[in-house]
Amino acid sequence: MVTRALVGMAGIAGAAALGVLATAGAGADIVANEPTPEAARSVAAPATAGLPAPAPVQEANIPYDGRFTFVRIRTDVSGGRGMPRSFLPGGRRGWGQPPWAHDYPRAERNLARILTATTLLNTYEGGSNILTFDDPELHSYPLAYVSEPGFWEMDEAEKEGLRSYLLKGGFVIFDDFGGPRDWANFEAQMMRVLPEGRFYDLSDLDPLPTVFDSFFEISDPEALAPPYRGGWPQYHGIFEDNDPAKRLMLVANFNNDLGDYWEFSDSGWLPIDLTNEAYKFGVNYIIYAMTH
């Protein structure tokens, strides 16, 4: 029997730290590194009056150096839905970013700073690496983040890459999607990857899966309201061998957008309490991936 427990009372202190950091304006500086092929395909997005400016370019990936480095997956998008793959104007929210790049890079930068502030994780705080599922380099980073999987498409190489990644021990966070159409696309893509897989609504499991108390104790995951979209937030996942006692291979924040909370935590646009809760999810996911 596996027993888990948290020792100490850092949870409260950690939450307080989140609040401090969320109001302190983290992630304001963006320094472009050397351009990469990805960067060459990117273009600057137009600033929108009254809103924080998105990243002008995709920054260069850093080589693996032993630190935890957030990885954002660049995906193809459903051609029929008119979404760009690269940094182009006219994205879904009009930010000039393709769906997979939403909240980039401020979301991951802010999250990295929170990780450093609240945990002992050796974290790269400069942003994230952007990789595709069929990139062998992805296997140097056992945690990956996918934004807007409602628009996600994969070729065979990406499908095989993701399957291999998950089964070998990788953990993927799917975020920022909602509604039946998004779910249908996401589920269809995942069934291509793991046809044997079964989605569990994690909030419905009793006891709650370990991922909700791997660092912070999240007793009611559904209590975190999404920042803007409608629908009841749900957290779905697929376990190894479809056994909830085993390792969770992926988590899908359906009807929610944690990345938005992370991105705008320094802007005052979103409530601090909810932002703190969103950070708890992020920290928990990462600590869970480290330990399971």
Binding site: V2, T3, R4, A5, L6, V7, G8, A10, G11, G14, Y64, D65, G66, F68, T118, T119, L120, L121, N122, P136, H139, S140, P142, S164, Y165, L167, K168, G169, G170, S214, F215, R247, I286, I287, A289, M290, T291, H292
Partner: protein, 761 residues
């Protein structure tokens, strides 16, 4: 041959001359002899000098010399020379004859017959000249010896079935049994292949002190013409179920150089591994590592054998059997990690399916915040890292991740060192940004335990890291935990294919006594990095694995690749291997013969692993037929604290189980089991060549003589002259020695011949 010639010429054997004192039989012999010889010599000289004629001075000198020498010989004989020898009185003395009754006497290397046939012909046949001569002179008492020594009345009591050859106890038994009678000497008839491991000196000292000579008669060839021997195979006494085991099997041979033979490993008769062995030059041992998996729990008899070769003289030494306790139990390992990192998750996953390993994880995720995984209950590690020895010593092994030394109190650091040193646990220190020198461990008790050398000067800046290719060293190739494939070659090739790993901790030196098992190689490293090192420390062992991320092997190799899982399962099994419990039952010799006493031992420690000498220890031996024999175990005063002993003499053949229970008052401290096999032993057939030098040493040190089957006929007469006991002084005439007659004839004929040649007749 030379001895016989000597005896023909000089009438007596050399030993008579060695033992005897020279004397002349005429009263005032020396003076009279000198005067007579002088007068004769002067007369002869004058006679020859006075002769004139055709002789030359040289002729006169030669002829004078010959005549002079002849007269001297004659004079010598007239003086009645004799040897005064102390000889034993016939039939008033005893001789003890000790006959080797061990199985090696059945080896057929005595003129194509068994060694025992020599014993039978020489000391068992009524018409044997040696036996008759001995019986004529002495009262002869016979003993047979092997693992024990018994008095026998006649040769028919010999069986040649003894399991061991113990020369020392045999000599001691015969000496003590014949201590009350006049003893002329002991005759030791054996191949000399003592396999008792006992020191002979102690048995020889009383013999030397009492002046009792030992006459040894060696039988058998010192080395065989054609023989293959599996000399040694020592698998671990205890392994976990499913463990990969590598056993170094030592093979020697005579007469089969260059041939390839199969070394087969059998688990209770079922072949579990086969290794082809090319035999080197004869007499040169070859060590063959054989691999197999201990998959069936329980006490298993593993046999390591080589099929009998063509024309082998000794076929019984082609195999070795060893008892291995394959234990199906869950061993607890504590992995303390100082920060969140992937190594924790991947390591845990690699061994998650191993029912014999319980990896308890304590991970510090933030300051004063810990995550516990796989604990038995809510109280385990509730206070973080153990701060008492009893709590820490509940684990068999400790894996120390990247955590700075300052996290621990001084007592905790000492406790970790004691965990290895005193408790006998194992410590594996992993690399990381807060490990080794970077973690500030230099000068701490933990640094003393680790197999690598580092100091604060080795600490690199925070950003330092390097990718290294991991290669096994020569020593590492033979370590079971590092075997990634079925054979050493395949395993070596597999290592070469693995993705490079990252290290934050450049280490280049190991301690004296430590062994580097894996090295990290990189183009920009001037010296190889010590990736994995090992050393025994006190009662336990310590290892350092100075890399950051073995999980890379899991993620970057193909999905179906099992390298990462294999590596960690084997490593953790190696870590817990041999780590003692509080109560340990032991049977130092796990094979015995029926009727042979078996020593049983129990080690009892308290929760801090200090020996307890005041506990109550009960032992139960369960025989193959299910009978349970209760034994009390006593603390051995002359042994270490906490060591209890008992003896058991089995009567049945088969597997016996020893169950040890130790109590502190009414509280049960622990229970342990050990096994031993009772069966006829074959140790007599190993290294069974005759040991002539040993027999010569025994004879030399006691004043006896060593013989071979060719020279043994002289034994009775030699004992008569050289033996101890009731003796009388005997004069042995020398005047009638054939050599003197021959000398005289040579001188006379020489003179005559010279005259003939020179025309002086």
């Amino acid at each position: 041959m030379l001895t016989s010639l000597f005896e023909f010429l000089f009438k007596y054997r050399p030993v008579v001359f060695q033992e005897g004192d020279f004397s002349l039989g005429v009263a005032g012999a020396v003076a009279t002899g000198a005067v007579v010889a002088g007068l004769i010599s002067v007369f002869a000289l004058l006679t020859y000098l006075g002769v004139r004629g055709k002789t030359r001075p040289l002729d006169r000198l030669v002829l004078g010399g010959l005549r002079f020498a002849g007269l001297l010989v004659l004079s010598f004989c007239l003086l009645r020379p004799a040897l005064v020898v102390s000889t034993v009185v016939p039939q008033q003395n005893f001789v003890g004859v000790l006959l080797d009754d061990s199985r090696s006497m059945e080896i057929q290397d005595f003129d194509g017959r068994s060694r025992g046939s020599f014993l039978q012909e020489t000391f068992g046949a009524p018409d044997s000249p040696v036996l008759s001569a001995l019986s004529d002179r002495f009262a002869v008492r016979y003993f047979r010896f092997s693992s024990r020594t018994d008095r026998i009345e006649d040769f028919s009591e010999m069986s040649f079935m003894g399991s061991r050859t113990r020369l020392g106890p045999a000599l001691e038994r015969a000496r003590s049994e014949l201590a009350s009678v006049p003893l002329s000497g002991l005759v030791l008839v054996t191949d000399g292949a003592d396999n008792s491991g006992e020191e002979l000196t102690e048995a020889l000292m009383p013999l030397q002190a009492q002046g009792i000579p030992v006459y040894t008669v060696g039988v058998g060839e010192e080395s065989f013409q054609r023989d293959i021997q599996v000399s040694r195979a020592d698998p671990p006494r205890t392994v976990l179920t499913g463990s990969s085991v590598v056993v170094d099997v030592v093979v020697t041979h005579m007469g089969y150089e260059g041939e390839t033979v199969s070394l087969i490993v059998e688990d209770e008769g079922q072949i579990v591994s086969t290794e082809e062995v090319e035999l080197p030059d004869e007499g040169q041992p070859v060590t063959v590592p054989v691999r197999f998996t201990a998959s069936t729990p329980g006490a298993r008899a593993y046999t390591f054998r080589i099929p009998v070769g063509v024309d082998e003289q000794v076929t019984q030494n082609n195999s070795q059997t060893a008892l291995v306790s394959v234990e199906d139990r869950r061993e607890k390992i504590l992995y303390f990690e100082g920060e969140p990192r992937y190594e924790v998750g991947f390591l845990g996953r690699a061994v998650a399916d191993d029912d014999n390993l319980q990896l308890v994880v304590l991970q510090r995720t933030a300051e004063n915040k810990f995550l516990r995984l796989n604990v038995d209950d809510g109280e385990e590690l509730q206070g973080g890292f153990p701060d008492t020895r009893a709590e820490l010593y509940a684990y068999r092994s400790l894996i120390l991740g990247t955590v700075e030394a300052s996290f621990f109190t001084g007592d905790q650091l000492q406790m970790i060192a004691d965990f290895v040193d005193k408790r006998g646990g194992s410590l594996l220190a992993l690399g990381g940004r807060n490990s080794f020198a970077r973690g500030g461990y230099a000068g701490t008790p933990v640094a003393d335990v680790l197999p690598v050398v580092f100091s604060d000067a080795d600490a690199r800046p925070d950003g330092y890291h390097n990718f290294v290719r991991i290669e096994p060293t020569q020593a590492g190739l033979g370590v079971p935990a590092l075997q990634l494939a079925g054979t050493e070659e395949e395993s070596g090739a597999r290592w070469a294919e693995l993705p490079h790993l990252l290290t934050y901790n450049p280490l280049h030196r190991i301690k004296p006594g430590a062994t580097a098992l894996l090295r990290g190689v990189a183009d920009d490293l001037q010296e190889d990095h010590v990736a994995l090192a090992f050393q025994r420390y006190g009662a336990g062992k310590s290892l350092s694995l100075a890399v950051q991320d073995t999980w890379i092997w899991q993620m970057q190799l193909p999905l179906e690749d099992e390298t990462h899982e294999t590596f960690w399962r084997q490593m953790l099994r190696w870590l817990v291997d041999g780590v003692p419990d509080q109560v340990t039952g032991q049977v130092p010799r796990d094979r015995a013969e029926p009727g042979e006493s078996v020593a049983l031992t129990a080690i009892v420690n308290d929760s801090s692993y200090l020996g307890m000498s005041n506990s109550v220890v009960e032992a139960t031996v369960t025989t193959p037929l299910g009978e349970e024999v209760e034994l009390g175990m006593d603390w051995a005063v002359d042994s270490d604290a906490g060591e209890y002993e008992a003896d058991f003499t089995p009567s049945e053949e088969g597997l016996h189980t020893l169950t040890v229970r130790a109590y502190d008052g009414d509280d049960l401290i622990g229970v342990d089991e050990a096994y031993f096999q009772v069966a006829p032993q074959r140790s007599e057939y190993f290294d069974a060549g005759a040991r002539t030098p040993l027999l010569e040493r025994i004879a030399d040190e006691t004043g006896g003589i060593s013989y071979t089957p060719e020279t043994v006929a002289a034994l009775p007469e030699d004992i008569r002259v050289t033996g101890a006991g009731v003796t009388l002084v005997e004069e042995m005439d020398l005047w009638d020695m054939p050599i003197l007659l021959l000398l005289l004839l040579v001188l006379i004929l020489g003179e005559w011949g010279y005259r003939r040649v020179r025309g002086l007749v």
